[in-house]
């Protein structure tokens, strides 16, 4: 295996050789390599976030017909670094009556919960943090730790707006966990394993072709878990002050900021691993570095989709959000799970085209039925008309035949 094909393992082997050459025992070498790789895996995403913030602001600017950051460096690429320096030098303010330990622990938990997901994602066929045999459940579990961070931030701040924000975010996250867990069973079912490595490597046909509706639901729940628009009412500036992080300043706020941006990239990474085949692609087995490139490309596309939704769709109300989850997504995901499980057993594994065709047909059918039900129900619960339509203003010299003064 040459350096070009698999650089990470090449460096690891070289380091092992050097360290044993210096007289270190095998276990010490192993420990040093573990520490180095764990440090890289933790620091890498954090540094990567600097780029992510710039990307998000730049794309957001373009969506809203602005330039985005454009002063510092070429295309404003150093803007996040300047922001970072500013946030480092800000004063920490601890509100009176705050619960010190939860208040200070919360930002750390929020970032750690996002970073911990990276430990089980296979970045290439040979490069991964750890091949945990319960990786998929592990992702859910560290998500739960993140929730704990948010609720601690809300409770520790001694501020009723922070507390309301904390409750909202946790209610949101817990609710959307239900369809997410149900849908997560589908890739697990296809691969027959809970390990992320097995799930990625077993996808000779990408799961998105076998379970398109499941992929769509998972995508929606990932956006909701991330509390991005249209599910961003937890930090709705016009209603709550800023959500659970209102009392935070300086680097402590920066932690939440980083966790937020990193979370959407992580969601894209998890989605591509579960449904888009992860590192799989032509030539990825022989040249693991290619697998990494494929994963980055897939994640970037999903990330762009998340950004596109964030900047184009208006915000839900909380009752709409809860109704959407409990009355639409949860039943739909249960139906999809059962249908997929039955069809998976009925259609033999070998015939890929037949499997894909049957799955798409079933998913389309489920979608059409769900759509009809939603239309019927929403027609029955029609929004009551509270006022007459307002006549449009028009200059007096324009004559139209339209009594309401519609546009000429």
């Amino acid at each position: 295996m040459s350096f070009i094909a698999d650089p990470i393992n090449f460096i690891a082997r070289w380091l092992t050789a050097v360290l044993t050459g210096w007289g270190a025992s095998a276990s010490v070498t192993q420990l040093i390599l573990f520490i180095i790789s764990a440090g890289l895996l933790a620091m890498g995403p954090l540094v990567f976030t600097i780029l992510l913030i710039w990307v998000e602001r730049k794309i957001g600017g373009r969506f809203q017909d602005r330039l985005g950051p454009n002063r510092l460096g070429p295309w404003g690429i150093f803007q996040p670094i300047a922001d970072m320096l500013k946030i480092f030098t800000k004063e920490y303010i601890t509100p009176i009556g705050a619960d010190k330990v939860p208040f200070n622990l919360a930002p750390i938990l929020a970032v750690a919960a996002v970073l911990a997901v990276w430990a089980v994602i296979p970045l290439a066929s040979t490069v991964y943090g750890v091949n945990l045999n319960v990786g998929a459940v592990y992702i859910l579990a560290v998500g739960a730790l993140g929730e704990l961070g948010f609720i601690m931030a809300g409770l520790g701040s001694n501020n009723k707006y922070a507390m309301l924000g904390g409750f909202r975010v946790v209610a949101n996250l817990i609710s959307y966990e239900v369809p997410m867990v149900v849908i997560l069973l589908i890739p697990i079912m296809f691969s027959g394993s809970l390990g992320m490595n097995d799930i990625a490597s077993s996808q000779t046909t990408w799961n998105v072709f076998l379970a398109p509706l499941a992929a769509l639901i998972f995508f929606i729940t990932q956006i909701a878990e991330n509390a991005r628009a249209p599910f961003d009412l937890i930090e709705a500036d016009s209603e709550l002050v800023a959500g659970f992080n209102v009392e935070y300043s300086g680097l402590k706020f920066g932690f939440f900021y980083v966790a937020d941006f990193l979370h959407s990239a992580t969601a894209a990474l998890v989605f591509s691993t579960l449904f888009l085949g992860g590192w799989r692609g032509p030539g990825a087995e022989t040249y693991p570095v290619l697998g990494f490139v494929y994963l980055v490309i897939k994640s970037a596309i999903i990330y762009f989709a998340i950004l596109h939704i964030r900047f184009t769709i208006p915000r839900f109300r909380i009752d709409q959000m809860m109704n959407f989850n409990w009355k639409f997504l949860t039943p739909l995901s249960l139906v999809v799970l059962v249908a997929t499980a039955v069809l998976d057993k009925l259609v033999p594994i070998g015939q890929t085209l037949l499997r894909v065709g049957v799955m798409w047909a079933a998913n389309l059918l489920i979608w059409l039925i769900a759509d009809q039900i939603v239309k019927r129900v929403s027609k029955r619960q029609a929004v009551p008309e509270v006022a007459q339509p307002r006549p449009l203003a028009r200059p007096p010299q324009v004559k139209t035949n339209d009594a309401t003064g519609g546009e000429a």
Partner: protein
């Protein structure tokens, strides 16, 4: 290995004591989270990694957050000043301490008391085997189905009990 166990045990027992003795009920809930995390580490030490992860997911992600919600919903009546415990707590403590010592002494007569674990054989603790046993009619199918009924009953019962009845409704 022993060091990790001792550290975890210390954290678990310490935070358990803090859970039952913390003056603010909210702090007690946070200490409970630390205890549950310690138990998860113990599960990982016992090579039951699935249950370690599920412990974090179910206990920390669901149960303790539910408890924190309940604490906040009933906050206005909480008097954090003054004793949070029954007035004869010392009697309970003495009796329970005696019981725990007697209990451990009685257990130490048991022949398996100081068994040391053998290396885990390959395939033991396999989740597929566990899953098959759960849905095997000769295995645990009945308890499995009963537990799902229990969960649905708890869900319906909890919602019915906790929901605020509006005026005019039964």
């Amino acid at each position: 290995m022993k060091l990790i166990f001792l550290l975890t045990a210390l954290v678990t027992v310490g935070s358990a004591i803090a859970t039952v003795s913390a003056r603010k009920i909210l702090h007690a809930a946070l200490w409970l989270v630390l205890t549950l995390l310690g138990v998860a580490v113990l599960f990982a030490l016992l090579e039951a990694s699935f249950f370690a992860v599920v412990q974090v997911l179910v206990y920390i992600g669901a149960i303790s957050i539910l408890i924190i919600f309940a604490v906040m919903l009933s906050r206005s009546s909480l008097v954090d000043e003054g004793s949070q415990t029954h007035r004869r707590w010392w009697a309970v403590a003495i009796v329970l301490l005696a019981v725990v010592i007697a209990w451990v002494a009685a257990l130490s007569l048991w022949p398996n008391w100081s068994t040391v674990s053998a290396a885990l054989p390959a395939g033991a603790g396999d989740l597929a085997t566990l899953g098959k046993q759960l849905v095997d009619p000769n295995g645990y199918l009945l308890p499995f189905e009963l537990s799902s009924i229990l969960l649905v009953a708890a869900l319906v019962g909890a919602i019915y009990t906790a929901v605020e009845k509006k005026a005019g409704q039964a």
